[in-house]
């Protein structure tokens, strides 16, 4: 890929609520290069959204707090920046597209105003210049009649178009990093395809790094270069895209892959679900959060978090099961009959 843009090391974000301390993110590390797409995969309670918001320093304090970790953007640690400096980073160096386009746009402001805001703020352009750029941006993300559309209000846009407008807002200042938090979850599948295409195009054009947060492994397979799997606030496995799908080492990853119905399955096979419920972030065990749902649980799993084990180039996993046993277990799973290496 390109130059290293972002290095996150040991990020931990906790929420101090009356019900207890919620360890939403616990010791998460990852890197992002230029033109690279990192997929952060997880379900509810995984901590993926909180991790992204921690990066942007958008965690409400109180009750939340980034308690540990370094967030190196280039040679600066984002945690050490002042509020003023951080504001310059947001929208300019790192931009974010949120999940729900219905509520992420201000309903009482024209779309053009909202896009122009970031431009005026970060690039010091005049309002007229910014409006012209907004129209251009809307055009670039594929909205027809962009010149007219910038004067419209969000309610006049459909869901897909709003999401495009959000992407236009995000790329308005040529950010090095684009974070997309479940950008397609609220959209119809044919619109989803359009939006993914727009994100890919923008990435090509601006040569940015993209962090895609999603629970949809299909979308990940579509555009991610590498994947980080999160569960209960921790990273359980990270690997390149092919490795994650064809050579996964963590039982949670196996479980995810085995529980997905596939459009191209030839004969109907029974899904293998992961038993149990999503984790309760207040009552996390001190060891592996996947405890209770893992079919291969051992005595050490509940009490101690396993150290990182490197199983291949750029492929790491945190699991107590020894590697050879893991391969055995995996080979026995129906989903992996074809892919065992």
């Amino acid at each position: 890929m390109g130059e290293r843009l972002l290095t996150v090391d040991g990020l931990s974000t906790h929420f101090f609520t009356y019900a207890g301390v919620v360890k939403a993110v616990n010791g998460v590390s990852f890197t992002l290069d230029r033109k690279e797409t990192l997929g952060i995969v997880g379900e509810s309670g995984s901590g993926k959204t909180v991790a992204a918001l921690s990066l942007m320093r958008l965690i409400p304090d109180p009750p939340g707090k980034v308690v540990e970790g370094t967030l190196m953007l280039g040679d600066r640690d984002l945690r050490t920046l002042s509020d003023e400096e951080m504001r310059k980073v947001r929208g300019n160096d790192i931009a974010m597209v949120f999940q729900d386009p219905m509520t992420s746009l201000n309903p009482v402001l024209k779309v053009g105003d909202q896009i122009a805001e970031a431009i005026i703020l970060h690039q010091g352009k005049t309002k007229a210049e910014a409006w012209k750029m907004s129209a251009e941006l809307l055009n670039r993300v594929g909205i027809p009649d962009a010149d007219k559309r910038i004067s419209h209000y969000p309610f006049e846009f459909s869901g897909g178009m709003r999401q495009r407008a959000m992407i236009a807002m995000a790329i308005s200042c040529n950010p090095d990093i684009l974070i997309a938090d479940e950008p397609t979850t609220a959209l119809d599948v044919t619109i989803q395809a359009q939006i993914i295409e727009v994100i890919e195009e923008m990435q090509q054009r601006y040569e940015s790094g993209v962090i895609l947060i999603t629970h949809d492994l299909g979308v990940v397979a579509e555009i991610a270069d590498k994947v980080m799997v999160m569960y209960g606030g921790r990273t359980v496995e990270y690997a390149g895209i092919d490795e994650i799908f064809y050579n996964p080492h963590h039982p949670y990853t196996w479980g995810l892959l085995g529980s997905l119905p596939r459009l191209d399955e030839i004969e109907k096979t029974r899904l293998t679900p992961i038993k149990g419920q999503p984790p309760d972030l207040i009552a996390l065990p001190s060891g592996c959060p996947f405890v209770g749902r893992c079919a291969y649980e051992r005595t050490e799993c509940r009490d101690e978090w396993p150290a990182l084990e490197i199983v291949g180039p750029d492929h790491g996993v945190n699991c107590w099961i020894p590697e050879d046993q893991r391969r055995e277990f995996r080979a026995a799973l129906p989903h992996f009959q074809e892919y065992v290496r």
């Binding site: 939403a24 309670g45 909180v50 009750p63 939340g64 149990g276 419920q277 999503p278 749902r293």
Partner: protein
């Protein structure tokens, strides 16, 4: 502890408190889905609001006093005559000219902490016994209004159409009239008397509860659990009163607290104007009305203590109501 489901998969049946989702934490804390359940969470937030807690204590004290006085009244305590009893250091109606030398009563003293009025009657006892009236009015008038409002409101909201239009336009009429004048009108028609006061105040209050409730009903009736009930063959009646109404009650509780406060004040106003209750019943309003002229003559204690009682009790209800409203508002950040 674990069980097997029908697929033979092991599922844990330990039900922990429902998960504290990330989105809730970050965007909208306690967005209605509290980990502890609605009432526990409400109580916790209420406790933190000191004014509301004070209000709650005041309410408890006054309601307790009112209940004891009502009980004493019914039983005929101290008089032997049911319907006239009281529980106080002195008989509130016992006239004693010696204690009112100039016809101006006597100032507060150790034996009469609130002093005596122009007829020598103990002001403390009178104030205490009058609590009964105020609390009765508050509770019964609101109960009448609630009963009407919580039938008309849900019916209006659930059925919509012309039923809704008719009921809501009628409520509008009630709202449009100046409240006191309307109450006066009804009292003139009905004549004075305690029960008439209840009815007059209560009958006008339905509009508030109906309209308030109708709004909640509109959003609740679109919920899927209402559809589910319909799919199971539930009758409209069952749906309205078993599914819809219980889920619209949160703002109603607040309105009740405020309503009681309002009813107490209205009764005081009516009695002050002379068309509320009649002697020998005494309410704070009546006392204020009777004693106001004596203020100029320097006998401040007669008016002051009933006024304070009135103010404090209403303050209690309103503060508690406010606190309750804040505590049940899921969007209010702490």
């Amino acid at each position: 502890m674990s069980e097997r489901d029908t697929s033979g998969n092991i599922i844990t049946t330990d039900v922990s408190i429902s998960t504290v989702g990330e989105r809730e934490l970050v965007e909208d804390q306690f967005s209605g889905r509290s980990p502890l359940g609605l009432w526990a969470d409400t109580w916790r937030r209420l406790r933190r609001n000191h004014l509301a807690v004070v209000g709650m204590c005041i309410i408890i004290v006054f309601l307790a006093l009112g209940i004891t006085q009502e009980f004493a009244n019914l039983v005929g305590l101290n008089t032997g005559d049911p319907g006239t009893g009281y529980l106080a250091p002195y008989d509130p109606n016992a006239v004693n000219y010696e204690l009112s030398p100039n016809g101006l009563g006597s100032a507060p003293s150790w034996s009469h902490p609130f002093g005596t009025d122009y007829l020598g009657r103990d002001v403390f006892s009178r104030t205490l016994v009058a609590t009964r009236i105020s609390m009765l009015v508050g509770v019964i008038a609101v109960a009448i209004a609630l009963f009407l409002g919580l039938i008309l409101g849900p019916v209006s909201g659930y059925y919509g159409g012309w039923v809704d239009s008719v009921i809501m336009r009628t409520a509008d009429v009630f709202f449009a009239f100046p409240y006191i004048l309307f109450v006066l009108l009804i009292m003139t028609v009905l004549g004075p008397g305690l029960w008439n006061v209840f009815i007059a105040i209560g009958i006008l209050g339905w509009a508030t509860y109906a309209r308030l409730n109708r709004g909640s009903v509109l959003s609740v009736k679109a919920m899927e659990y209402v559809e589910a009930a319909r799919a199971q063959g539930a009758s409209d009646l069952r749906i309205i009163f078993r599914h819809v109404l219980p889920n619209t009650m949160a703002p109603i509780y607040v309105a009740i607290a405020m309503g009681i406060g309002g009813a107490i004040v209205t009764e005081a106003a009516l009695s002050y104007l002379g068309i509320g209750i009649q002697p020998p019943d005494a309410s704070w309003g009546k006392m204020i009305s009777d004693y106001l002229t004596y203020l100029q003559a320097g006998s401040w204690w007669m008016v002051t203590f009933p006024s304070v009682a009135l103010t404090v009790s209403v303050f209690g209800f309103i503060s508690f109501g406010n606190g309750l409203r804040d505590a049940t508002d899921p969007k209010l950040k702490e």
